[in-house]
């Protein structure tokens, strides 16, 4: 599903963001990517989306050889996965429905398909009744649900979320995380970059911890912090 082999990323200004990363995700997994701010989580997500290129190593996502793919192929890689961000990234002058439908319009989907898929995606995130509202009329949690519906509307095999709860209060954060877990139970592979300690600890999923660009721990049913070793984490 997702594989990184000996991946390193050094930015143009010389910052080493990732160092010799090896990571493998199988179909249907749910993975938390944890680590303090600046540890390289977002960089890893950017490599998966080919927003940034790996300086070294190989990246495979959904059967795409991301490392060697051309610019023209990038949109098709991105269509094969769904992505949500901390800042929701909704189009302010489009309604909830239109925002979600837009992800299908760009793939030149049939209108019939759009009319079928969009309500389903909205129902999945519990926003059917707010379809005709604009993003500014919604709470943060609701906006993130719209972003989730948009990420899911093309039925991607992989969902990537970079700090999806970073702008939300704890209660709403919980709801979003539960929703992500539910999406995972329906068969979608999910990667969540976060530093929500309590949620990570409670959900008992696979945890990949990054520190200073290096994977320091990869644990099934893990916790945010490795209690046994008492690894100091700065945040």
């Amino acid at each position: 599903m997702v594989e990184l082999r000996n991946v390193s990323k050094t930015y143009a200004n010389g910052t080493v963001a990732l160092r010799d990363i090896n990571l493998r995700l199988d179909k249907g997994e749910f993975v938390f990517l944890v680590g303090p701010s600046g540890s390289g989580k977002s960089t890893l997500v950017k490599l998966l989306l080919k927003e940034e290129d790996a300086t070294e190593g190989e990246v495979y996502v959904n059967g795409y050889d991301v490392t060697s793919m051309t610019r023209q192929e990038i949109p098709y890689l991105r269509r094969s996965l769904g992505v949500v961000f901390q800042d929701f990234r909704l189009l302010p002058n489009k309604t909830v429905y239109e925002n979600v439908a837009f992800a299908m319009i760009i793939t030149e989907a049939l209108p019939k398909e759009i009319r079928r898929q969009v309500p389903m995606a909205l129902a999945l995130v519990g926003l059917s009744r707010k379809a005709n509202m604009y993003p500014h009329q919604l709470s943060g949690g609701e906006q993130q649900r719209v972003a989730l519906a948009r990420a899911l509307v093309n039925n991607p095999a992989l969902l990537i979320a970079d700090e999806p709860t970073g702008n939300l209060d704890p209660e709403t954060s919980w709801e979003i995380m539960k929703l992500l877990s539910e999406i995972n139970h329906r068969g979608t592979t999910v990667i969540v970059a976060t530093h929500e300690k309590s949620i990570v600890d409670a959900m008992k999923k696979r945890v990949v911890a990054i520190s200073k660009g290096v994977i320091v721990r990869d644990q099934e049913k893990g916790l945010y912090r490795d209690e046994d070793k008492n690894t100091p984490v700065l945040y």
Binding site: R71, Q72, P75, R79, V83, L91, I105
Partner: protein, 299 residues
């Protein structure tokens, strides 16, 4: 490209140009200006060609006899003209007719001719040639005929007009190029503003997997909308303007009588003008968008 996608691009193009009203308007005005200059050039050229064509088709010479020769000598000259194979037809202008024409031409000033008789005018022959290429040799031969004083030669006029229209074209071409380039750049600049206004939207589109062309097309449409609007306005202005000029021209007594110049009717030029404007508009609009995208839309 699917029809619904095309519809989406066109809709977005309109939204873009509407959101960016002021710059769109400025661009439209530049396009209108360029196209009107171009239109004036085209219309003048078409009319010049039309008139040159008429003159060429009816190569006319006028051979003037000496004023003092008598009718017998005039008849001898006439025989020579009649016998010339290269001459299609001729018309004799008697002294009386020449006086009459002069009176007409002078109009209310004709009084100055009072007291003079027709005998102050020479007899002349208006000659039509079978082909314009004979002009110079026929002129040379006629000038040798005893009794003929001089031959006026309308080929000179044709050459003058041809040369003038050549210089005119050159001047206009330079202006047209300057204005078209200005149009391309102002459209590019307008689109740059839209791109900046929509850069967040563009980045979101990229994240959800829109192709480069899917992102670019609305901007191309925006450029074409601006230039097509300009073309429509320019067409209306130049068509009405031209019609007004033609109306004034046909009412002008001098041109109506002399038949020296004729103008093409608006009916015979509008379709050509419309096609030129449409083609230029699409090219200029698309070029503006492409310039803008090369510079500002690194998707």
């Amino acid at each position: 490209m699917k029809i619904r996608t095309l519809r989406y691009f066109i809709k977005e193009g309109f939204i873009n140009s509407y959101r960016n009203k002021l710059m769109s308007l400025a661009s439209v005005l530049i396009v209108v200006t360029s196209l009107i200059i171009f239109g004036v050039f085209v219309l003048i050229s078409l009319n010049a060609q039309h008139n040159i064509g008429i003159w060429k088709e009816q190569p006319q010479l006028q051979a003037f006899c000496y004023q003092e020769i008598d009718d017998i000598q005039v008849r001898r000259v006439e025989e020579i003209i009649k016998a010339d194979e290269r001459i299609l037809s001729y018309e004799k202008v008697t002294r009386e007719q020449a006086l009459e024409r002069m009176r007409e031409r002078l109009g209310k000033d004709a009084a100055i001719l009072d007291g003079y008789g027709a005998d102050i005018f020479p007899v002349s022959f208006i000659i039509r040639l079978k082909d314009v290429s004979y002009s110079s040799e026929v002129v040379k031969d006629l000038e040798k005929v005893t009794g003929i004083e001089k031959v006026s030669y309308s080929q000179d006029t044709v050459e003058l007009i041809t040369r003038m229209s050549h210089w005119f074209s050159l001047g206009c071409s330079v202006m047209i190029i300057v204005f078209l380039v200005a149009s391309v750049f102002i459209i590019a600049n307008t689109i740059k503003l839209t791109v900046f206004a929509r850069r967040r939207e563009i980045s979101i589109m990229k994240y959800i997997g829109a192709t480069d062309w899917f992102i670019r097309w609305p901007f191309v449409v925006e450029g074409v909308i601006i230039s097509i609007t300009g073309a429509i306005l320019a067409f209306i202005v130049s068509a009405y303007g031209y019609k007004a000029v033609v109306d004034k021209f046909t009412q002008d007594a001098f041109f109506a009588q002399t038949n020296l110049l004729s103008m093409l009717s608006i009916e015979s030029v509008w379709s050509r003008l419309a096609v030129y404007y449409a083609v230029i508009a699409v090219v200029v609009g698309a070029a503006g968008s492409f310039v803008s995208m090369r510079r500002y839309l690194k998707v």
